[in-house]
Symmetry: C2
Subunit: 189 residues, 2 copies
DNA sequence: GTCTATAAATCGATAGAC
DNA sequence: GTCTATCGATTTATAGAC
């Protein structure tokens, strides 16, 4: 996420602050101060605080939608589909960990784009669930409750934005493949 | 979490609203309105909005600390320790899912109690890590990266508050034991 | 224990100069 | 593209009547 326009710069700065304190607790003055300008100047590039949030979240939600579409259209087995989903989350989160915080925690503050976001999220979860169900049907996955598996795996993937920035803790090299192993095979020897 | 005093009632109402929109986006008027009174009346029972948040979060953090202490003092093997940790999270979250949202998402808005909270969380994670490390050392757990296992399991447990209230999705009966199976044994057949 | 009224600070956003 | 100045609305919290 390199800023190419002044608008991008605002969005990236805002995403970083939103991650620290959440959308509602960050003021336009906070964003401006972090950029070394005054709050009024922001409005020469964006129309509202809401537009910043909307841009952060919808951009990411559409990336996930696009990635999931490719996975659904492949002819892989369920295990490989799941590995590709892990890859997708690691890749998007590594590229924009700050924005992922807004996607996870501030989507309810969307206004115009709230319904659209909820639609994208619903479709994503339904596709994810479909992959799990097919895996169970084909005897590739254990026959545990589908929603329990979905919840367990997706919770970990959605929390990646908290851990990925700490490069000391989690070596990013092969993070996706190591995470897939833990999620798929468990942790018992 | 049954309200016994008027103060409890305020805290429980606030926790429900904090879960929906986050601490910063909920006003004292919102809380009062949900209780059918005026905002000024709240101050006859609590001293500040901050005190409400602090009460919600610290109560829960101390419950986890207490539960972890019991687990650490038991002489179980690592697998049973992990199962007991899952039980602990399911139990506390089932009892107070709304409050868990604040614990996870609004801890950074703590003021006086922020340091204390961070201390409790650090100790909890260190104990958790110790259990995992011992499990790896004793050949009970796979020798994956300790922090990766900690991250993966803890992320799922911390997200329980989102899913547990949807009783349709996740049957709460045996949730803890089914979740332990998925987390420990994975999902591959 | 709840109310009305209001203080003091801060919010998002706009107008207009440079 | 950034600034100063400011508007109107909203925030937490208090004072004092009932």
């Amino acid at each position: 996420m390199k800023p190419e326009t002044r608008k991008d710069e605002i969005i990236i700065t805002a995403a970083r602050l939103f991650k620290e304190k959440g959308y509602s607790a960050v003021t336009m003055r906070d964003i401006a101060k972090a950029m070394g300008i005054k709050a009024a100047s922001l409005y020469n590039h964006i129309n509202s605080k809401q537009e910043i949030l909307s841009n952060i979240i919808i951009t990411l939600a559409e990336e996930f939608t696009k990635g999931m579409k490719i996975i659904m259209n492949s002819n892989n087995n369920s295990i490989d589909d799941l590995k590709n989903i892990v890859d997708l989350h690691v890749k998007i989160t590594t590229n924009n960990a700050f924005g992922m915080a807004s996607l996870n925690n501030d989507w309810m503050h969307l206004e115009d784009k709230l319904e659209y976001y909820l639609e994208l999220r619903k479709n994503y979860e339904n596709n994810f669930r479909q992959i799990i169900e097919l895996g169970i049907k084909n005897n590739e996955l254990v026959s545990a409750d589908t929603n329990l598996i979905l919840f367990s795996v997706l919770s970990t993937l959605r929390s990646l934005y908290i851990w990925i920035p700490n490069k000391e803790d989690l070596q990013n090299t092969n993070l996706a493949s190591n995470l897939s192993k833990v999620l798929l095979n468990g942790i018992i020897k």
